[in-house]
């Protein structure tokens, strides 16, 4: 039996806007086991990043976590005092971002920033922490780690900065890593290098990884399981191969059909009509109803809940696509 590290239940995050409260994340649940990767995929505004920030408790006003729980080894992060949470961030839960400068301070050297974190979380001396930082920089494949230790973030290339951020995030060996579009801004050949690195470090540290991306190709190659989100809600969750080969939710199916793939020849792409509704104007019932080719009356009246249809496969749809 695999060991569950993270267990998110009915997570709900609300933003209090001038036009009224909107639920950016509305009832998301998932588990991630030790050494496993959950991919969360969806388009802009689907709530995949807000989910991650909520798990890290990095939501700031006007946003607020308004419900649910985030269990890390059985302990609810959402009910911890803020000081405890600060101890956990970086040591037990770490996050890497699309834009490394989100996490790196431009006026401090890479080494200084790493030391600060290592000293705080691992209780090492300055000298020991320097050893540790150099070891991490080497591990993530940064050439000449001693020089880079003394460098400022702007002196590194985009790919190297991404590596430095990963080195920093993982320097205290967290149990749980959240990767929020870590390769989206990178060129495709550099993306491959960074994905390999994350995978290698995951194997070494046995971390549970939550990998957020809009790229179904990346998800296919890195995730064990995939959660598809739409307008703040979960549509479908399944083991990756099952989700890619036999998707059941009309949104998942449409999403997979609408992307161009190398070697697939068709004059027109089957596009999904319309646009994602803004969270202010979400219809009652299923949020995908206005773009869904399989909509039935019930979809307009009632919101479908995630229901298990097979081992590890959950679906929120009243009229799913036939099982192939």
């Amino acid at each position: 039996m695999t060991e569950t590290v993270v267990s998110v239940r009915e997570l709900q995050t609300t933003f209090h806007t001038r036009a009224g409260p909107v639920r950016a994340v509305d009832g998301i649940s998932y588990d991630i086991a030790k050494g496993r990767t959950l991919g969360i995929v969806g388009e802009s505004g689907c709530g995949k990043s807000v989910t991650s920030y909520s798990v890290m408790r990095l939501i700031e006003p006007p946003g607020e976590i308004t419900g649910g729980s985030v269990l890390l080894d059985g302990e609810d992060l959402l009910s911890l005092p803020e000081e405890r949470m600060q101890d956990y961030r970086g040591s037990r839960v770490a996050m890497i971002f699309q834009e490394p400068m989100t996490a790196l301070n431009p006026v401090l050297t890479i080494g200084y920033q790493m030391d600060e974190q290592i000293v705080r979380h691992m209780g090492l001396t300055r000298r020991q922490s320097r050893e540790r930082a150099l070891e991490m920089l080497e591990l993530v494949g940064i050439p000449a780690p001693r020089e880079r230790y003394a460098s400022y973030p702007h002196q590194l290339s985009g790919g190297m900065r991404q590596r430095a951020m990963i080195a920093m995030a993982l320097s205290c060996e967290p149990d749980f890593l959240i990767a929020d579009e870590p390769t989206t801004a990178l060129d495709v050949t550099i993306q491959g290098q960074i994905l390999e690195l994350i995978q290698k470090l995951q194997e070494r540290l046995h971390m549970a990884v939550q990998f957020i991306t809009h790229d179904l190709g990346v998800i296919s190659e890195i995730a064990d399981d995939v959660l598809v989100m739409y307008a703040g809600t979960a549509c479908e969750k399944a083991p990756t191969h099952r989700l890619m080969d036999a998707p059941r939710h009309p949104y998942t199916v449409a999403l997979l059909q609408s992307i161009p793939r190398i070697g697939r020849r068709e004059p027109r792409l089957p596009a999904i009509g319309g646009t994602v509704p803004t969270l202010h104007e979400l219809p009652a019932g299923c949020p995908f109803q206005n773009r869904c080719p399989r909509v039935v009356d019930r979809c307009r009246a009632e919101r479908p809940a995630m229901t298990a249809i097979a081992e590890g496969h959950e679906l929120a749809c009243f009229n799913p696509v036939e099982d192939r």
């Binding site: 388009e43 390999e196 790229d215 179904l216 190709g217 296919s220 990756t240 161009p260 596009a271 999904i272």
Partner: protein, 332 residues
């Protein structure tokens, strides 16, 4: 068939100025000797990673940038020598669409004003017909004509890109350079815009130069593909040929690096090590040699230029062509 656009040895270098006196201390070789022909009605894809010069090339082709050297002929006429009225009339025939529909539309103008502008600038129709034309354009790109009085910020990214496309189509161009037109869009919207561009191509018999970093989009959309690396085209071929039988080690790595949907979780194995060197001081010989898994002696000194290896298939690599390194060009 004679080419619509014919480019020879085009270069665009940007000076790097430093110090108090802003003296030129280095040059970015953004486009470094590009030659290509574009046939009427075709879609030529330009693909490569950041810094390869694809966007600079696109902008130079429409004369948003003046090239450092080289020639551009449009229907046999010297595009770079055109001035005044002749240049204006040429600009009507060559249009550009940009990646960022947020930056390319003036936020203070209504959609009606934005779409009337081309008619005004080029005096292409009587003033009172302009709005009518703008309305028709909106419908052409699948937007409601009622949007004429709205401002760009009221639209989603996909709708804004439709407005940019409508503006580019206003004067019925012949050649459209589209620079990453779907890269900022979500996948479901990306498909809509690609379909729209295809429809417009049929309707107006357009020729496209389509710039993208996304090989899957390139494969879907283009007839012919040119791969760029550090300012040079290193391989060009009809699409099917390029994706089935890539000959340049860089093209091979680039195609291999694209994550495949449905491939299943795998042990990641990067197609290439190292990073793209700076275009300020590109490596001697073949620019790709420091990262090339198939490099041979001399690749750091000699650059063979594009050599024909099949019908319409040209590659710049010493492993291929008549003078190829013996035994090295055989593909597994």
């Amino acid at each position: 068939m004679s080419a619509l656009l014919s480019v020879r040895d085009l270069r665009k270098h940007f000076p790097v100025r430093t110090g108090l006196l802003r003296r030129e201390t280095a040059r970015v070789h953004a486009v470094d000797g590009v030659s290509l022909d574009v046939e009427p009605g075709e879609t030529l894809g330009l693909v490569g990673e950041s810094g390869c010069g694809k966007s600079t090339l696109g902008r130079t082709l429409v004369r948003l940038y003046e090239p450092t050297s080289g020639s551009i002929q449009y229907r046999g006429e010297d595009f770079l020598a055109l001035r005044g009225e002749r240049l204006r009339s040429m600009r009507r025939r060559v249009q550009m669409i940009f990646q960022d529909p947020f930056a390319s539309l003036d936020p203070r103008m209504t959609v009606g004003q934005i779409l009337s502008e081309p008619f005004k600038v080029h005096d292409a129709c009587p003033p009172r017909e302009r709005l009518e034309r703008a309305r028709a354009l909106l419908e052409t790109v699948g937007l409601n004509a009622a949007y004429l009085n709205r401002y760009p910020h009221e639209f989603s990214g996909g709708q804004r890109q439709r407005i940019s496309i409508a503006r580019a189509m206003a004067l019925k161009p012949e050649l459209v350079v589209a620079d990453e037109p779907v890269s900022a869009l979500d996948v479901s919207i990306q498909a809509q815009i690609l379909n729209l561009l295809k429809d417009l191509q049929q309707e107006f018999r357009l020729t496209y130069i389509f710039i993208s970093h996304d090989l899957a989009v390139i494969d879907h959309f283009c007839d012919r593909v040119a791969v760029m690396y550090l300012g040079r085209i290193i391989e060009v071929a009809p699409k099917d040929e390029l994706f089935r039988n890539p000959r340049h080690p860089y093209t091979q790595a680039l195609i291999e690096a694209v994550p495949r949907v449905g491939a299943g979780k795998k042990q990641m194995q990067p197609a290439l090590r190292g990073e793209v060197p700076s275009p300020i001081d590109p490596p001697a010989g073949c620019h790709f040699h420091p990262r090339c898994p198939k490099r041979h002696d001399g690749c750091d000194r000699e650059y063979p230029g594009l050599v024909e290896v099949g019908p319409g298939h040209r590659v710049a690599c010493r492993l291929h062509g008549a003078d190829a390194i013996p035994g090295a060009g055989i593909q597994p």
